[in-house]
C-alpha cells in the first residue's frame, strides 16, 4: 500500500515522486541476466499457482471476503504489516533517509508502533466481537447506514484509484530500472493480480502478501548487510559520514539522531516540530491509518480467534520496527558508498534538478535503493531484489482490489442494490467486482499516465477521510452517548475541515504558518497538523451534536461499545503466547530504539 503515509512525505521524496523521478532518469539502471529473468518468472508462476490452488477454498462469502476467518496470528500479522510495505514506499523513504537522515525512521516507529499496539490491545476486541466484515460495517452497527455509506463510497473510490496509481508507478519504475515497456508491465501485473484475487479472494491476497514479505527481506536485507561490511559497521559508517561532511562532500546536518533537532521547526531540514511528530504523526495520522483503514484492518479481521486478532498487530509491530534496517539504512549508507564510474562520491539530487539537466547522468534521491541494489547484488540476487519490488507493487494492487471488492459487495451492493440474495450470488458479485476493480485500476493507471499531477491529488484525497474517521470510530467505540447524528456530522465536518485546510494552503501557501503554528514550518508539518485539526474537529462536532440528539438504547450498543460489550474469556496460555507480554516487549524495544537514536 503506497497511499496513506505518502501524503506526509516531502514533495520531492514521496513514493509517487519516486516513480516520477525515476522516469526522468535516462538509461535503465540495471540489466537483468537470464538468471534474474528466471527468478522473476518463478515468482509469477508461484502466485498463479497459489491463486488456482486457493480457488477451491473461496466458495462462500465468508471464505472469499474474509479468508474464512482462519488466519493464524502470524499470517494475519505478516499480511497486516506487508499491506503497508509497498515498493514505492521503500524507495521513497530510502530517498528521504539519504536526504534527511534517520528522521525518516519516525514514520516507521512513532508513526506506526503505538497505533498498531493500540489496535491489537484496545480496539480489536470490538471489531472482532461484533463480527463486522469491514470498518464501514462497524460504522453501520454503531452509527447507522448514513455514516457507513459515506465511508464505504469514499473508501471504495479511493482504493480503486490507488490501485491504478500503484499499477502506473510500478510500470514506470520497471521502465526506468529495467527498460521494460509501460504497457507490458501494466498488462502482465494486472492480469496476474486479477487472476489470483478473483480466484482465491482475500485468502489469496493474504498469501501473496506473506510471500511478498519474505521476498522483500530475502531480496533487500543483503543490501544493508553488505553496506555495513563495506563501511566497517555502524561506527565505521558514522566515521565516514563525518569525514564526508567535514570535507563538504555531503551537506552538513545531523543524519543519525531522531529527536535532538525537533525542538524547533527551523532546526531540522524537514521543517517539523516534536509536537507535530508526536500528536500529528504519532496520533492523528498513524492511528487513523492503522486502526481505521480497512485495507490493513481487513487482514486482522481474518484472524482465526480473538487472541490471534489481538496478537497479529503486535507481531506486525516487531517487523515494522525492523523495516528501517532495509529501508532507512541503505539510504544512509548511500551517502558514503555510492560512487560514480570515476570513483568520486555520487551526489544524488532532487527530481527538479534531474529534470533540468537531462542527459547529465544525474540520479535523484529516490533512486538510492535501486542504485544500492545494483551496487551490491550480482546475477540472481539482483533478480531477487527486483522480484521483491515487483511483489511489493503487486501485493499493493491486490490489497487495494480485495479491500475494494469487500467494501463494494458488503457495504454498497448488499445494503443498497440486492439486499437478500443467496450466498453464492455475493461470491459471484465479488469475483466480478474484482475483475471490474482491476479494469478500473487499469483505466486509472492510464489516466495518471496522461496527467501525472493527478497522483498528488489522489494522495491528498485519501488523507482527507482517514483522520476524521478515526475521531468518529474512537468516540463511537468508547463513548456510549455518541449518536447517529453526531457520527454523521462529525465525519462530514471533520472531512470538510481537512479539505478546507488543504485548499487554504494550496491556494495561499503563507497560510501554512497558521495551520502548522509556525512561520518556519514546511509541507510535511502541514500534513501532521491538518490531520490533528481534522480529528479534533470530528471529535468536537460529534460530542456537541451527540449531546443535543437522542442516543441509541444501550441494548443496541452491545458488542460495539466499551462498557456494554462482554468480551469473551480466553483460555489461559503460557507467557510466551500471551499478547500482553509481547506488547510489553514491543513497547520496551520501541522506547529503546528511540532513546538509542535520540
Amino acid at each position: 500500500m503506497l497511499d496513506l503515509f505518502a501524503h506526509s512525505i516531502p514533495a520531492g521524496c514521496s513514493p509517487l515522486a519516486a516513480a516520477r523521478s525515476l522516469a526522468l532518469g535516462a538509461p535503465s539502471l540495471a540489466h537483468l541476466s537470464p538468471l534474474d529473468i528466471a527468478v522473476i518468472a518463478i515468482y509469477f508462476v508461484m502466485v498463479i499457482w497459489i491463486g488456482f490452488y486457493l480457488k477451491s477454498k473461496a466458495n462462500t462469502s465468508e471464505e472469499f471476503f474474509m479468508a474464512g476467518r482462519e488466519m493464524t496470528a502470524w499470517i494475519a500479522g505478516l499480511s497486516f504489516v506487508s499491506a503497508n510495505l509497498g515498493s514505492l514506499e521503500l524507495m521513497g523513504w530510502a530517498g528521504s533517509a539519504y536526504q534527511y537522515g534517520i528522521l525518516a525512521a519516525h514514520w516507521y516507529w512513532i508513526g506506526a508502533i503505538p497505533a498498531m499496539l493500540f489496535l491489537g490491545m484496545v480496539m480489536m476486541p470490538f471489531y472482532y466481537v461484533c463480527k463486522t466484515h469491514s470498518v464501514p460495517g462497524y460504522l453501520k452497527l454503531r452509527y447507522g447506514q448514513g455514516s457507513s455509506t459515506v465511508a464505504a463510497v469514499s473508501f471504495a473510490f479511493m482504493t480503486v484509484l490507488m490501485s491504478g496509481v500503484n499499477m502506473f508507478a510500478m510500470a514506470e519504475v520497471m521502465k526506468i530500472v529495467l527498460g521494460w515497456d509501460l504497457n507490458f508491465s501494466i498488462i502482465v501485473s494486472s492480469l496476474a493480480v486479477a487472476a489470483y484475487v478473483a480466484l482465491g479472494g482475500l485468502r489469496s491476497a493474504i498469501f501473496n502478501e506473506v510471500l511478498q514479505f519474505v521476498l522483500i527481506w530475502g531480496g533487500a536485507l543483503l543490501v544493508p548487510i553488505l553496506g555495513l561490511i563495506e563501511t566497517g559497521g555502524w561506527g565505521g559508517f558514522k566515521a565516514r559520514l563525518a569525514h564526508n561532511i567535514a570535507t563538504g562532500a555531503v551537506p552538513a546536518g545531523d543524519y543519525t539522531h531522531m529527536w535532538r533537532s525537533m525542538g524547533h521547526f527551523a532546526d531540522n531540514p524537514m521543517g517539523i516540530h516534536w509536537t507535530g511528530i508526536v500528536f500529528g504523526l504519532g496520533f492523528a495520522i498513524s492511528f487513523g491509518y492503522w486502526t481505521t483503514d480497512f485495507l490493513v484492518v481487513q487482514r486482522v479481521l481474518a484472524a482465526n480467534s480473538l487472541r490471534s486478532a489481538r496478537l497479529a498487530p503486535v507481531i506486525g509491530s516487531f517487523f515494522k520496527m525492523a523495516v528501517p534496517f532495509i529501508v532507512i539504512l541503505p539510504g544512509l549508507l548511500g551517502l558514503v558508498v555510492l560512487t560514480n564510474a570515476d570513483g568520486s562520491l555520487m551526489h544524488l539530487v532532487g527530481e527538479n534538478v534531474v529534470a533540468a539537466n537531462p542527459g547529465a547522468g544525474l540520479h535523484s534521491y529516490n533512486e538510492v535503493l535501486p542504485l544500492m541494489m545494483v551496487r551490491y547484488l550480482g546475477p540472481g540476487l539482483l533478480g531477487l531484489g527486483i522480484t521483491a519490488l515487483i511483489a511489493g507493487f503487486m501485493s499493493g494492487m491486490a490489497g487495494n482490489v480485495s479491500a475494494f471488492t469487500a467494501i463494494f459487495t458488503y457495504d454498497i451492493y448488499q445494503p443498497h442494490i440486492v439486499k437478500h440474495a443467496r450466498d453464492e450470488h455475493y461470491v459471484l458479485v465479488g469475483r466480478i467486482v474484482t475483475i471490474v476493480g482491476v479494469v478500473i485500476s487499469i483505466g486509472a493507471a492510464y489516466m495518471v499516465m496522461n496527467a501525472a499531477g493527478i497522483m498528488d491529488y489522489v494522495q491528498a484525497l485519501f488523507s482527507f477521510f482517514i483522520s476524521p474517521l478515526l475521531g468518529v470510530v474512537l468516540l463511537g467505540m468508547f463513548w456510549k452517548r455518541a449518536t447517529k447524528a453526531g457520527g454523521f456530522w462529525g465525519l462530514l465536518i471533520g472531512t470538510l475541515t481537512s479539505i478546507g485546510l488543504w485548499a487554504w494552503v494550496y491556494f495561499y501557501p503563507p497560510a501554512l504558518r497558521y495551520v502548522a503554528l509556525s512561520p518556519d514550518a514546511k509541507g510535511m508539518a502541514e500534513n501532521m497538523y491538518r490531520a490533528l485539526w481534522s480529528v479534533s474537529t470530528a471529535v468536537g462536532v460529534n460530542v456537541i451534536v451527540s449531546l443535543f440528539t437522542k442516543p441509541k438504547p444501550l441494548s443496541e450498543l452491545t458488542s460495539v461499545v466499551y462498557g456494554v460489550t462482554p468480551l469473551p474469556t480466553e483460555e489461559p496460555v503460557p507467557l510466551y503466547k500471551n499478547e500482553w507480554f509481547w506488547t510489553a516487549i514491543a513497547i520496551v524495544i520501541f522506547f529503546a530504539l528511540n532513546i538509542y537514536f535520540w
Partner: protein, 68 residues
C-alpha cells in the same frame, strides 16, 4: 491455516528453495570463474546457501502430508 490444506509456509519453502538453489549455484560457478565483484563478498554463495537452508526447512516442516 493447517486446516485448509497446503499452508503458506510450504509455498514459501518452495520459493526459497528454488531461489536458494539458483543463487547458490551461480555463486559456486562464479567462484570457479573468479568473476565476483569485490564489494559482493561472495554473497551469492552464503546468501544463496542461507535461502536454500531456510527454504528446505519450511519445505520439509510444512509439507502437505505432514500438516494434513
Amino acid at each position: 491455516m493447517h486446516s485448509s490444506g497446503i499452508p503458506i509456509w510450504f509455498f514459501i519453502g518452495v520459493l526459497l528453495t528454488a531461489y536458494g538453489a539458483l543463487v547458490l549455484g551461480y555463486g559456486i560457478y562464479e567462484l570457479g570463474t573468479g568473476t565476483m565483484a569485490v564489494q559482493n563478498y561472495h554473497a551469492s554463495v552464503w546468501w544463496g546457501a542461507t535461502l536454500l537452508l531456510v527454504g528446505l526447512f519450511y519445505l520439509i516442516r510444512f509439507r502437505p502430508s505432514r500438516t494434513s
